[in-house]
Symmetry: C2
């Protein structure tokens, strides 16, 4: 079955069910010129939007519709998480080429709805249109956050402690498996594969951190060294990360042992982990990390500190420090 | 110059200027994971999103960047207008193929900003990414409207008067000129051409109508007969339109005379006029039309009435009535 067989309205009828999860305050969802809803008046509204293009962000023949839909929404929710917000409403635009089946599109929405349900997010509308060659998805998500708890990139201060909410590099390892057609034939490889395919947005964790006074945050989409770089640049500060504090999963260590990579380089350069990284004031760090563990049964990894040097460096247990680079660290540019 | 020459951040630097027009209440615009802003607490937030895909909605070689950007935003603002809202913030996602120049993209943003400025709309963020073949634009616009003044499609009632805010069919005539490579060699043809290329959103008019108690509205994107059909279906009502009341511009009459078309068929079937059509209660119609004219120096065209028949018909001056169809009316299906 193709989209042209059932038309746009037929398609909307097919996907509308299950889109409205939280009907209170929703005046109009799918079915009018625009969606209409109210939000609490003390809350700041957040909106993020991401476009995914076939042959650029995904290969349709190698990606199930479910995984595509799930990840498309996950990356947007992750942006809301990185602001400390609560995700509320999602809007999905989709441009569909003639050779894309309705079944595939339904699977896309299944993935979208699965994640939307987990985080109580309405899918409130969007646009459906044609495309000549590639499938394109654009998702916009509105969230809200109390005005005094927004986590910006430009708020890091010298002396702050740098944190990460999860292990780093797993997603990059999963991508390596996919690009090299390596079967995920063990629990470890399967877990890395899933880290790349079905990343989890740290929404509850971001909300917790924002409400507990964390200072700055970003989601790790391009790799810790690159994304932390945005915080450093926008805050006009530097950072010293401790090599032995960077969280690396046992799965990644096994992967790196098997394929001959350096786990730390993977952790620093790996994109699409969608963990949150950021900074919190030194005097609150221990308490927040303690409360975080009590709440989520997961550690908040404290991996370094913010400096006033405007340089990013990675310090090894032997005391050697190297300039941090997009791919890990510069083996030649030693700081000592 | 190509996008890869300057990178995404170089591009954002290029286009950021002029994007923030109304900084009050804007906590964060371009430059973070999401834009953050507050809105008045009594207002309902509206969000609309539209995706435009090369070779489906436009031909890049035949469309200037300016016109593409202008129209991409116009169609979204028109959706806010059709809800009776005020447009506030716009978010632009753009997927750019390798053969698209930065100059073209800058021209796109010039068109966007020109219209945004006219209606005091911020361009608050979005996403910029690559594409293999086609240029794709997705625009989301947030607007607001007082909760008791929202214009829905499902609110028409039998006895209501049907209105249009402007002449119909001009845009379709402009498209005919473009598709048939006919030079706009007169003021009349130029005007039709512009109606298609640079449609104006009826935002002020929509706001006026909503605040003066109009009942239902839609923007005419697919053609009056088709779009009014949405109102009729969603309101479970019918309509009788009067052939001699349908507003047809002198330019369209001249065009139809020259190329051998029926002006009324063009007016009823013509898409992309982006006028507002809708209904208002009979007892308010005269007063609202009077006040509308006083305010805008343009007539509010009263073109028919809503019936409880669930049929849409067009009534000719000789008393003949025909079933209205997507392309005008059914010449065989007479109602009398």
């Amino acid at each position: 079955m193709n989209l042209k067989d059932i038309g746009e309205f037929g398609f909307i009828e097919k996907i509308a069910s299950g889109c409205l999860l939280r009907p209170q305050n929703i005046l109009k969802a799918i079915g009018d010129d625009a969606a209409a809803f109210t939000m609490g008046s003390d809350e700041v509204i957040l909106l993020t939007t991401d476009m995914l293009v076939e042959r650029v962000h995904f290969l349709r023949h190698a990606t199930s519709g479910f995984n595509l839909g799930y990840k498309s929404l996950a990356v947007n929710l992750s942006d809301i998480a990185a602001m400390g917000g609560t995700a509320k409403e999602a809007f999905v635009s989709i441009a569909v080429p003639g050779n894309c089946s309705v079944e595939y599109l339904e699977d896309v929405y299944k993935g979208l709805k699965t994640l939307a349900r987990e985080f109580d997010v309405n899918i409130l509308g969007g646009d459906t249109t044609g495309s000549k060659t590639d499938l394109i998805l654009n998702i916009s998500v509105i969230g809200s956050v109390p005005g005094n708890e927004i986590l910006y990139r430009d708020a890091a201060q010298p002396g702050d402690i740098v944190f990460s909410t999860g292990c780093l590099g797993d997603s990059k390892a999963g991508l390596y498996l996919i690009l090299n057609h390596i079967a995920a034939d063990s629990e470890e490889l399967k877990s890395l594969f899933d880290s790349h395919i079905l990343p989890r947005p740290y929404l509850r964790e971001g909300r917790f951190l924002a409400s507990h006074g964390v200072r700055a945050a970003i989601d790790v989409s391009d790799g810790l060294s690159s994304d932390l770089g945005h915080i450093l640049k926008q805050s006009s500060v530097g950072a010293s990360l401790y090599a032995d504090k960077i969280p690396i999963s046992e799965n990644l260590r096994l992967f790196c042992g098997r394929f001959g990579f350096n786990p730390l380089e993977y952790a620093l350069s790996g994109g699409e982990d969608y963990t949150l990284a950021g900074t919190l004031s030194r005097d609150k760090a221990e308490q927040i990390a303690h409360d975080y563990f009590e709440t989520f049964d997961q550690p908040l990894y404290l991996i370094g500190e913010i400096t006033d040097s405007e340089k990013a460096e990675i310090i090894f247990p032997d005391g050697q420090s190297h300039v941090m680079t997009a791919s890990g660290w510069d083996h030649f540019k030693s700081e000592k």
